[in-house]
């Protein structure tokens, strides 16, 4: 007998060794336990798996690899995955009577339609002895198409909700930009079909909530007005279930970037007497209007805009090229909405009629230099079909400004560069073209798209929400960088995303150029 003197507490602790007894059934020596039987005898006595389910049927949809959890939920799970194991264990009844210690799959052929799971359970038997036992549960898999797959099989074009997006303008710039936005935010990932129509795009969804989510997304990025309508498709009299088709008619505000707007007097006075001639500089979830004469800015959100619903007087189609001969030093400089503007007087002449010179005010004093080209609205020579403009023209003493410059023109520099390809690429949404109408001219579409890409190059602000991917086929021309002092605007490499799908080159090259300005 060994003993340990614990000097600190003064206790005399005797070491206790557990003796051994004979198992009361088979007589083998064993340390004593609660039942005083060896494990084998105990196992033969007691079966803790009695009353537990050993075989069960589960339903599987082969189209979408989902398993049915009654009454209605379908759970997606791969073969022999953790989710499948959790699902199988949940389906077993009575498992709360014993404690589950371990569960694992036993390999079966996938086509045998059987899943075998080995469960190890623990339970208390006789007077306190805890026994552990493992047993096999067999799941019979039956094929059964889930509701959504069967509905899809019956009619693939079936949609429940649709969003009809429209903008009543003559160009499609907004839709190109929206397409990039949607791609960036993955907002149309649940759309069944996307179809392009005249002056708009239709999105079809399988679920009203998906359509609703999409409309909410649109509300955050462009100023819209929408209404929701529904159409009864079928009606179950006995259980009073109604099936509807829902349609959201969404109208985007027709005022776009770089448009010239003549504000109705009520709106102008509501905005603090903003000069009725304003330029729209930015459209996001609200419209930014800039008065080029006073450099004052106003923001209109969707609700405010749709209360008056004014249209633009002149759109970007009507932009005219001007030559800038002289730029005087800026009278006033202001930073409005993050952009620097400088008010100064310039001498300009239209490209088509260089003889006639105009001396006008412009808000682009910060970027224009003599010898530049600029794009602007020719109010002197234009025949504007706008009531507000007429009213204003009659009321004002000195007459309307002869021209309002909107942006600088980089055509010359672009000519010099003679680049065939750009250094970035954009992804596209899977939009179906509506060929039946025949009104769409492919050449015009290409031109518009080219202009949109040029817009992206010139405006870093516009690029903010667009994912641009690196074009590995791009070769920068060496001559361009040496000859021209001011190059045409291009997207800096740092802003481009490395896209492993578009470019099939090695991934290690692309990983170095990962985007940081995202």
């Amino acid at each position: 007998m060994s003993s340990v003197m614990d000097e600190q507490s003064g206790m005399f602790n005797v070491q206790q060794t557990i003796g051994s007894v004979l198992c009361c059934k088979c007589g083998v020596q064993m340390p004593p336990n609660h039942a005083n039987m060896c494990v084998n005898c105990l196992r033969s006595e007691v079966d803790i798996t009695e009353g537990l389910q050993k075989s069960i049927q589960i339903f599987y949809c082969p189209e979408c690899t989902c398993y049915l959890q009654p009454p209605k939920t379908w759970i997606k799970a791969q073969w022999e995955s953790k989710e499948l194991l959790t699902f199988c264990i949940k389906r077993l009844k009575n498992l709360n009577k014993v404690k589950l210690k371990n569960a694992e799959f036993v390999w079966t052929e996938p086509h045998s339609k059987r899943i075998k799971v080995k469960l190890t359970v623990q339970a208390e038997v006789l007077n306190g002895a805890v026994l552990e036992q493992s047993y096999l549960v067999e799941f019979t898999v039956r094929d059964n198409l889930c509701e959504s797959c069967s509905r899809f099989q019956a009619n693939p074009d079936q949609w429940v909700a649709s969003v009809q997006l429209r903008q009543h303008v003559s160009h499609r710039r907004t839709f190109f930009y929206l397409e990039q936005l949607i791609l960036r935010h993955d907002a149309a990932s649940r759309a069944i079909r996307i179809q392009q129509v005249d002056q708009g795009i239709d999105f079809f969804f399988g679920n009203k909530s998906h359509a609703n989510a999409f409309v909410e997304f649109l509300r955050k990025v462009v100023p819209i007005e929408y209404r929701q309508d529904q159409q009864l498709v079928s009606h179950d009299v006995k259980s009073s279930l109604y099936n509807y088709k829902y349609t959201y008619s969404v109208k985007i505000c027709p005022v776009c970037r770089e448009d010239l707007v003549c504000l109705p007097s009520k709106v102008a006075s509501g905005l603090g007497n903003l000069g009725p001639l304003v330029v729209c500089t930015k459209v996001s979830d609200n419209i930014t209007l800039l008065d080029p004469r006073t450099l004052r800015c106003a923001f209109l959100d969707a609700r405010q805009y749709w209360r008056s619903g004014f249209r633009s007087a002149l759109t970007s189609r009507q932009l005219v090229k001007y030559f800038v001969f002289d730029v005087e030093s800026p009278v006033v400089e202001a930073t409005v909405g993050g952009q620097i503007y400088a008010l100064s007087y310039v001498q300009i002449a239209r490209e088509s009629d260089i003889g006639k010179m105009f001396y006008v005010q412009t808000h682009l004093g910060h970027i224009l230099k003599p010898g530049d080209q600029a794009l602007g609205y020719d109010i002197y020579g234009a025949n504007v079909n706008d009531n507000e403009m007429e009213k204003y023209r009659l009321s004002v003493k000195n007459g309307l400004p002869e021209a309002i410059l909107i942006k600088k023109c980089y055509d010359e520099q672009r000519e010099r560069k003679k680049k065939k390809s750009r250094n970035f690429k954009l992804k596209k949404l899977p939009i179906e073209m509506d060929d039946s109408r025949g009104r769409l001219d492919p050449e015009r579409m290409d031109n518009e798209y080219e202009e949109f890409l040029r817009d992206l190059e010139e405006n870093p602000e516009l690029r903010f929400n667009v994912s641009m991917y690196e074009n590995t086929e791009y070769e920068p021309s060496e001559t361009a960088s040496m000859t021209d002092g001011e190059g045409a605007p291009s997207v800096p490499l740092a802003e481009l995303l490395s896209d492993l799908k578009i470019s099939e080159k090695e991934e290690d090259d692309d990983e170095e150029e990962d985007d940081m300005a995202e």
């Binding site: 007998m1 005797v14 070491q15 206790q16 060794t17 557990i18 003796g19 007894v21 004979l22 198992c23 009361c24 059934k25 088979c26 007589g27 004593p32 039942a35 005083n36 039987m37 006789l126």
Partner: protein, 245 residues
């Protein structure tokens, strides 16, 4: 030789009977089977007395005794006391003691020479035990349990204790009691030894659930295989002759 029996379909025979070298007490059962089992073994050797203590049948756990005497709790009625005094041999002293712990069978484990007592027993009671039973009393615990009378079955040849008793404890108890001890079970793994069986120097009675393994352990530790009642008397005769010479 160990016998397996049941009291009214219950295997806890040590609860309903008390067996010593000089007498045997049994409880009053519905049928006579219990009594006849004892009779067939012990008929001519020692008297078998049917009794109750305090109106109950759990006499094995309420009283403690050996060949010298019998201690009964304060709950025993006068009639029962008288009945016991009449039925038992004269050399057996029947004493009723006033003790807070009245289940004396659970508190005291004894043979003819030595006894183990519950640690909380009164000093007075300890003296009475030493006096009436003629034994040396040791206050002990068995495997951490204070109810020594329940977890230990003792005879003059050997003893069996609770199966969870450690080896050191077993050694200690063995030296105190001067008999070989074993840790074992009775009635298919039950740890309450004294409730499941009752034993004296040449025979023992166990519950019918006792497995063959347990029975063999009991037989070996209490040395019941060779023991016959006559051999004890022969031994006594030998010692008598010795003293005569």
């Amino acid at each position: 030789m160990a016998t397996r029996l049941q009291f009214e379909n219950n295997c806890e025979v040590g609860v309903f009977s008390k067996l010593t070298n000089a007498y045997c007490l049994v409880a009053i059962g519905g049928s006579e089977n219990f009594y006849s089992a004892f009779e067939s073994e012990l008929a001519d050797v020692i008297p078998i007395v049917k009794t109750s203590i305090g109106g109950t049948r759990i006499i094995g756990r309420l009283c403690a005794g050996n060949k010298n005497g019998l201690l009964v709790p304060h709950t025993t009625t006068d009639q029962e006391l008288q009945h016991l005094r009449n039925s038992l041999p004269d050399q057996v002293v029947v004493q009723r003691i006033d003790e807070r712990l009245s289940a004396l069978g659970n508190c005291i484990a004894c043979n003819d020479h030595v006894a183990l007592a519950h640690t909380d027993l009164d000093k007075e009671t300890e003296e009475i035990i030493a006096d009436v039973l003629g034994v040396e009393v040791f206050r002990q615990t068995i495997a951490g349990n204070i109810l020594v009378g329940s977890y230990c079955a003792l005879s003059n040849r050997g003893g069996m204790v609770h199966p969870h008793t450690s080896v050191e404890d077993l050694d200690e108890l063995s030296t105190l009691l001067q008999v070989p001890l074993v840790a074992g079970t009775v009635n298919r793994g039950s740890e309450v030894i004294a409730a499941g069986m009752t034993v004296n120097d040449w025979t023992s009675f166990c519950g019918s659930d006792t497995t063959a393994t347990e029975l063999s352990v009991i037989d070996s530790i209490f040395k019941l295989r060779e023991a016959q009642p006559s051999s004890i008397v022969d031994e006594m005769r030998k010692s008598l002759i010795d003293t005569y010479v």
